[in-house]
């Protein structure tokens, strides 16, 4: 079995150049999107069917240093170990490559949009031209041929590091120790435990919520038990209404016609 690959996204090293964003578009042949001046260098405003990787900009006022801090976070699919989209896809169009990259087979997808509802990060989008759902493929076509994903290859600062996932986890822990030594006590790792561990995971400079990341995203579809437990109250309601109906329908006390 192939070794699980991944990408460590160290946002403390990101300078917001968006080379990853452009590289993703180039490799995947994605068209440019018409953008408008929204008072921010961040563009386009969100991921879309034509933008699978982008840098989100966050501003924070540092009270101690009395200056603005910019945070840059790469957004895109996290290739979760417990992928809600993969487990919940009703057609089996969402697959995992031998190296662990979760991607959508465009020849099978029917555009039911279930994966859009299942992803806690809001990554998949419907491509209205093809009628199918699309997202970052983890460049599985590159990775399975020994190349890093286009975004990691293009990153000029080492903010995106591609490698064996187990080695990246160790690297992240070492980096966290280093950041703490530098006095960056808010830094944390995101994605080591969430959804069974994310394939593309982070070293953040602030709490996950600051970046719009759910602290404890739920594994939705992996276990059939979830469906049963969520049906429990419905079953009770069905039993109560059903018994009421049976009792009423079988009651012959007001059957005037039968007297």
């Amino acid at each position: 079995m192939a070794v699980r690959k991944g990408v460590l996204i160290d946002i403390t090293k990101c300078i917001g150049c968006r080379a990853c964003q452009v590289a993703c578009k180039e490799w995947n042949d994605l068209p440019a999107e018409k953008t408008i001046n929204r008072g921010s260098y961040e563009n386009p405003p969100s991921l879309s069917a034509h933008t699978w990787t982008k840098i989100n900009f966050y501003e924070e006022w540092d009270k101690e240093k009395n200056k603005m801090i910019w945070h840059f976070k790469r957004s895109g699919c996290h290739h979760c170990t417990d992928s809600n989209c993969l487990e919940g896809c009703p057609t089996g169009a969402i697959k995992r490559s031998p190296s662990g990259m979760v991607h959508i087979d465009q020849n099978i997808c029917i555009g039911c949009k279930n994966c859009i509802q299942l992803c806690p990060f809001g990554i998949p989008h419907l491509n209205h031209e093809t009628g199918t759902t699309v997202k970052c493929t983890g460049c599985y076509d590159r990775v399975e041929n020994g190349l890093p994903p286009a975004c990691a290859k293009a990153c000029p600062t080492g903010a995106l590091t591609f490698g064996n996932l187990s080695e990246l986890r160790a690297l992240a822990n070492d980096r966290l120790v280093e950041l703490r030594k530098q006095g960056n006590y808010r830094a944390c790792i995101y994605g080591d435990t969430q959804l069974g561990g994310l394939g593309f995971f982070y070293i953040l400079q602030n709490d996950p919520e600051f970046y719009g990341l759910p602290k404890n995203p739920k594994v939705v579809s992996k276990y059939f038990w979830n469906i049963l437990s969520n049906s429990f109250i419905a079953t009770i309601a069905a039993a109560v209404i059903g018994l009421g109906a049976i009792f009423t329908f079988r009651d012959r006390t007001n059957n005037n016609s039968e007297k």
Binding site: P45, S75, E87, G88, C89, P90, T91, G92, A93, I108, I110, G111, C112, K113, N114, I116, Q117, L118, C119, P120, F121, G122, I123, H125, L126, N127, H128, T130, G131, T132, T133, G212, K218, V220, S221, F224, N226, I227, N230, S231, I233, A234, T235, I236, A237, A238, V240, I241, G242, G244, A245, I246, T248, F249, R250, D251, N254, N255, N256, S257
Partner: protein, 296 residues
Amino acid sequence: MEGQVISWGWPIIIYLFLGGLAGGAYIIAALADLCDIDEDKLIGKIGFTVAFIGIVIGALCLISDLGRPERFLNIIKVYKFTSPMSVGVWGVIVFTVFSILSILMIFGKSKDSKGIWKLGYYISLVIPRKAVNAIGLTVGVFLAGYTGVLLTETSRPFWSDTPFLGALFLASGVSTAIAFIYFFYGMMRNDEIGQRNKYKLKLVDNMAIIAEIVILIFMLIQLSNIGHLKYLKHYTAMFWIGVVVVGLIIPLLWNFVSLIGYRIQGKKLKTNFIIPILILIGGFLLRYVVVMAGQS
């Protein structure tokens, strides 16, 4: 969530409504048949027909919502226990089969049945009608409840953080189905037996409405405790006026007055289209509010 728009819109809202209605109609029709309340099986005939038409239109809505409708067969090439949508689609297929069987068997229950209905008679020689209806009843319960559970099994906080949606949609499905069946039954039969059965249908309708109100109260308290009522913000008026007052309170009180009048004063139960329409509007708006609020 990153730049999300409404992914599930009108076709899905209509499907959830019709799925609940179809499931509820089958439940009532099957129970009426199993309890032998109507000699001419009129409730069963209406209920199974509503169930079949409802699920067929609902399934067409489901297919029309796909980005690639022509590929819809891909969904039945796979069976995935982990995918509520896959489980649900198979549930819809099984339900459709049962509603067809039940229609054939209730319309063709005698040897003298003609045309296609004769097929129902032949099927009943192999499997008793009541056995089919009893098994179909469980599939109907599944369908009516699954429409809510499908939403619960997502990552949208408003849907996934509450365990009440399945029960709510099931109770609403039964209530809307009875409103439908009551209207057609009342139009076709108004003799003494008809009056007695209309009384029973109204009584069960009120039970379903009360169940729905109780579930709704629990759900609102639970959503309030976890701070999720904010998702209802844009739909507050529609929810309280459309779902609660129009769809639940007015029909409940109206039914209650009618039931008292019939039972105590011996007044005849009238058939009008106002209450069924109000219940159907309320049931539809419930799906609309829940689906839209969850994606806001």
